[in-house]
Symmetry: C2
Subunit: 338 residues, 2 copies
Amino acid sequence: MDAVNHQVVLRSRPQGLLTAVDVELVETPVPELDDGEALVRTELIGIDPAVRTWLDDQRGYLPPVQLGEVIRAATIGEVVSTRCDAYGVGDVVTSLGGFSNYSVARDDLFTTVVRRGSDHPEEVDREELLAVFGSTGATAYFGMHDIGRPGPGETVVVSAAAGATGSIAGQLAKHAGARVVGIAGSDEKCSVVTGEFGFDACINHRTDDLDAALREHCPGRVDVYFDNVGGPILDAVLGRLAMNARVVLCGVISSYVTGEHPGPANWVQLLARRARMEGFNTMDKWDRYEEATTELRRLCDAGAIHFRTHVFEGLDRAVAALNALFEGTNVGKTLLRP
Amino acid sequence: MDAVNHQVVLRSRPQGLLTAVDVELVETPVPELDDGEALVRTELIGIDPAVRTWLDDQRGYLPPVQLGEVIRAATIGEVVSTRCDAYGVGDVVTSLGGFSNYSVARDDLFTTVVRRGSDHPEEVDREELLAVFGSTGATAYFGMHDIGRPGPGETVVVSAAAGATGSIAGQLAKHAGARVVGIAGSDEKCSVVTGEFGFDACINHRTDDLDAALREHCPGRVDVYFDNVGGPILDAVLGRLAMNARVVLCGVISSYVTGEHPGPANWVQLLARRARMEGFNTMDKWDRYEEATTELRRLCDAGAIHFRTHVFEGLDRAVAALNALFEGTNVGKTLLRP
């Protein structure tokens, strides 16, 4: 085991995108364990939009990362030493280990475990676990299952369709028998969305006339909109809602960096169309996490869910990995291997 | 029976508020009946915000009133002659008779009937029927019952609380055990809202600092918001939502006249608070009309629902009666006696 831990800590609060001057890559000792703790060597870090929101000085569903603290992020790794009953050496653990080579898992914090021996942890696909079975897949599942509830023959639109959550959300809707139209930011992404993820169509919002494309691809209007972005795209889809439509508010990636959330002028269509717009947060639903992962596993095994990852190498790429989410340059789940 | 009918017909489409030049009070013959029709003498006309929306040249849930047509409105009246089995002379009928002394009820159009003889139509309280048991009360019931669903101890805010729908919506929430805070446009209205309609508090949005007043009167934030107005009041309440809040979109009286619906900047609170905003229209729920009226009758008889009316006299007051809704000058249900 290395005696040294590397961590990315927050030095100043970013204005807009995170920059190299806001963070520092520091060397620290590998943590000493107390009773009830296990030491986890990070294998992969999940890069989610939420990571950026935790850097602002405002209370969200988790407290903000404080200056000097390690930047919080979901991780997967292997237990390398333990002083608790919950985890044995060799277990594979997911937790909020952050941008760090090593982190401490406590038996009172939520984690998922693949036990050494019983489940062949060496065979566990770490990328799949973060891309499909972490909060990403659960978010797609809860949003689509609890709020969107698409039925056979309905039309579902998904924004950020090439992204980690959107790609799975669309595949879940497709499996439910819906016609699924993605919205993404490049022709390359659109071809992945239709080719690999099996959407029926995909609109490039940077080059297509969005209103015209929605009319073309959603002739019967939009029954379910799974929104990851907010902003003008939300407004355009609100203008195309079907009667009794459901708008799933999953994220507002258009404004995590700017902090501005212009009101959608077409909100009044909710009234005209007897439609519903509803926000949710996967953190509230951890007691149903097994329900989500069981269904996702079944669909993965049946070949009904495909995923892609984009892996950045090295903790010194942390800023680039995070900003890639907001620059819209990646397809699928963004990961960082420390 | 008069041989002459008086009707208010639309001559030009209003820009903003309806004006005297947009309408004409005309004399026409009393309609001749075909088979399957009955002639109804209008006793009272219900003045709803929807009447104004039907004058714009855009398809809503009903087609727009055409130039030269009688202005559409809900009415209550007595059958004075009949050529159908559905209605007998002396029956009391509610229908969309419009701004007219006489109208024709057909047996294939929705109406409610109080039968002469069996139900003592001479004792029917026509004002109560339009104020509580017409679409007004049903709208309050369906919005609160199907979407708001307030529970004991929850905090409910109702805008246009002195109005026909808001006053009943708040009383339904109060009966469900909630703490109910109204928002209205004058101190006089606020005192009726708390004094006669039994709300726990009422905010005058024209003089109070709305954000501060919401903090004061909703210390545990807002679980249900029954919105009749849209605009800045909607935005303010969205900024004060509790977790898992429900926003009932019933109407947008702030913009029926202007046609402008600025997007509420605080819509993103739906995501932060896992809240829902949902529109509805009572017209969709006529098959459950009896459920609504049965419950409203029970509560009226138990003294749990009070109502107020403001009656304008004469068809020449039609424009004034309609505009009173948007000028915010009335308390309770606005009616016109032709």
